[in-house]
């Protein structure tokens, strides 16, 4: 659960992709008249221009208020185009982005909280980036995959939430991990909807002040640690189903580019490296290896779709990636009896030395995978 951060990464990758693919993005010198002046105060967000041509957009932000603020450029559905956090009182910051024609909003958030003070931003003209047909093909196939995963998740999640709502602890435990597979396979895209992720996949330590703990991990704790489902937990089940339905409906609108796919694959491995190998993700159910496998499958899907492009540009890299994916999958297979099932060894039974082997195998794959985006855009 690293919603905002990851979505920003995706946005940045999008920008980079457009730049690299078209090869004609103009760089501003950072000082010219083109910059939009944003004066952020505690109760206002003044924007010097609200109509701009498409392309390189620069916001020169001044925080004249008394609180630390953050400034966002948002898509109409609140997806983040670009953002800058922690702008202290009396300080300045610059935000840059490549923006295509369309309607956007600029939001200042004094105190870095809430909906923010918003201004419309209209971007017009310019031309959309051209992509090669094979890039379009990869993106289209990945879009289908992401939608398929969401579609397949809903009925599985329903088995889980129905069991929770019915107070059937054993049935709920049984359905828990599999209900998360589709989400885990496409996590970077799922997380890009910054408002859904904190409701469905947050862990106790990720909660912000005043945030109510909901979603899978709250129910995981009820099932495995508290070993009871009270009225409150039962009420969380339909809420989870509703949020996932929201995800299923919106996932098709996600911004996907070849570089966001490549970096998304790396991010899935990062999820494993930081949350799963340590056993933090599924600390009550110890089903970490299932999430682990799903993350790897999602990363592998992205890679496979990009491989025709990557192997042409960097054959050595794709050979390494083929090998490392195979090695990691082979290692993961030693933790399940049957290669078609998702019944993995409980992570609490995986010893320290074996966890290090898993961690080493993840690093062995993630390190070259971090070079996939460059290979794709070469």
């Amino acid at each position: 659960m690293r919603a905002v951060r990851l979505s920003v990464v995706t946005a940045a990758a999008t920008v980079a992709a457009l730049t690299a693919v078209t090869g004609c993005a103009e760089k501003s010198d950072g000082k010219g008249d083109g910059a939009v002046q944003v004066v952020a105060k505690d109760d206002s967000c003044e924007v010097s221009k609200t109509k701009l041509p498409a392309g390189h957009v620069e916001l020169a932000v001044q925080n004249k208020g008394s609180k630390v603020t953050e400034v966002y450029v948002l898509f109409p559905d609140d997806r983040i185009v670009a953002e800058r956090e922690n702008i202290g009182p009396g300080t300045k910051a610059t935000i840059t982005a490549e923006i295509k024609a369309g309607s956007y909003e600029i939001a200042c958030k004094p105190g870095m909280k809430g909906h923010g003070i918003r201004q419309k931003l209209e971007i017009s003209g310019g031309s959309a980036a051209k992509r090669s047909p094979e890039m379009d093909k990869a993106v289209a196939a990945y879009r289908t995959y992401v939608q398929d995963q969401a579609d397949a998740t809903l009925p599985k999640a329903k088995v889980f939430t129905d069991a929770v709502a019915a107070g059937d602890i054993e049935a709920a435990k049984k359905a828990y991990a599999e209900s998360r597979l589709g989400w885990e396979r496409t996590e970077p895209v799922a997380e890009s909807f910054g408002d859904i992720d904190p409701k469905v996949d947050v862990r106790a330590d990720g909660l912000e002040d005043g945030q109510k703990w909901t979603g899978w991990h709250r129910l995981e704790k009820a099932l495995w640690q508290d070993k009871k489902l009270g009225a409150e937990e039962k009420a969380l089940a339909p809420a989870l189903q509703k949020d996932l339905l929201d995800w299923q409906k919106r996932v098709g609108t996600a911004e996907i580019t070849p570089t966001s796919m490549a970096n998304g694959a790396k991010e899935l491995l990062d999820e494993v490296a930081t949350g799963k190998v340590t056993g933090e993700e599924e600390r009550y159910s110890h089903t970490d290896l299932i999430d682990f496998k799903a993350n790897v499958e999602g990363a592998e899907k992205s890679y496979e779709l990009l491989k025709p492009i990557a192997s042409k540009n960097d054959a050595a890299l794709s050979a390494t990636l083929d090998k490392r994916f195979a090695e990691l999958n082979k290692l993961l297979d030693t933790y399940r009896k049957d290669k078609t099932s998702y019944e993995f060894t409980s992570y609490e039974k995986v010893g320290k030395a074996d966890r290090k082997d898993l961690s080493d195998a993840v690093n062995a794959l993630a390190e070259p995978l971090s070079r996939l985006a460059a290979a794709v855009t070469k």
Binding site: T19, A20, T320, K356, D360, N363, A364, R371, A373, A374
Partner: protein, 432 residues
Amino acid sequence: MSEDTQNTAGESPDPGSPATPGPGGAPSRRALLGWGGAGLALGAVAAGGAVAAVRSDDAPVPAADSGAAVPFHGAHQAGIATAVQDRLHFAAFDVTTKDRAELVALLKEWTRAAERMTAGHAVGDGAYGGLAEAPPDDTGEALGLKPSRLTLTIGFGPTLFAKGRFGLEDRRPDALVDLPKFPGDNLDAARSGGDLCVQACADDPQVAVHAIRNLARIGMGRTAIRWSQLGFGKTSSTTPGAQTPRNMMGFKDGTRNISGTDTAALDKHVWVGGKDRAGWMTGGSYLVARRIRMHIETWDRAPLQEQEDVFGRDKGEGAPVGKAKERDEPFLKAMLPTAHVRLAHPDSNAGATILRRGYSFTDGTDGLGRLDAGLFFLAYQRDTREAFVPLQRRLAAHDALNEYIQHVGSAHFAVPPGVRDKDDWWGRTLFS
């Protein structure tokens, strides 16, 4: 910089006049003279790969205040006889690939990266300015820092020669023994052994850490870090005439170390010679690394007389018992039979002599509120069977210091000869 390095630190003869970089960022002749002379003083053999004392390709630093670069190429690896730097990052690696060709490719990549980093350059295409959508080749935390006399020294552990691994079982040198279990050892497997090691020494800890971090990153998928150790405050000196630094017990220990300029002693005790019948190791050495935890709190409660008796030196000057000056010839029989200096002295060990490069370490506290501190002991020798092993047998059995220390980590490595030039690589003599 500590006193003992003053005349070897590679400062320009005229620090007031910065050397101008030559074409292509190469140092001027004057700058070369500055630390070329240092290379000689350091005892580094074959300063063939003279290198610019800059860390960023586009921002040459005047050699006069460059923190000096130690030549990487030579008959022996730098970092053994080289004047001891202030800081250490030592890492032991497991080789995770089963493919010999992959291991060889890694050693070549590591060599190229080590050449760049010891010269003060960033790895590969650097830490910035590359593709926006890819991570940079170099991790970047050493940008703007001086070369800081960084040396990188590689070693091969006994497990690398195991049967069925890389076809090296017949090439394991006899001297690369499995170290015996010494009385009092309490070795932690997670801090012991390793197929490979890299010793990074530098005057700036960030430069040393950067070097290990980048090698570890390049190695991912082929090697994995098994354990590592940071060290500070070198506890022995390879520079004659310098003050011997103090260990965490407050004592000077290592006064009688082999000097980095004493070629005869190095040839006799440190470098593997042609007669040693270990062909690929000629010009190399054997490294023993021991993590020695000190019981700091009980030591601090020991009376001064006991502390001095334990070492066989006085605490102030470091003079041997009954003598006035640190470097006065010790009269061993004046010391307690269990005194550390007496037991460790070559005269008590049939002449067995090692070259020490140990560092102090402090890894916070141990959960019981005790300082997790001590000595990270590094010893180089021509044949471990004739040097460290008999020496440690004697110390483990009799040393009064044993009440206050415990050996908790241990490793042994064959350190191959130096990388001769730009086409050579770490381990070529072993793998070719």
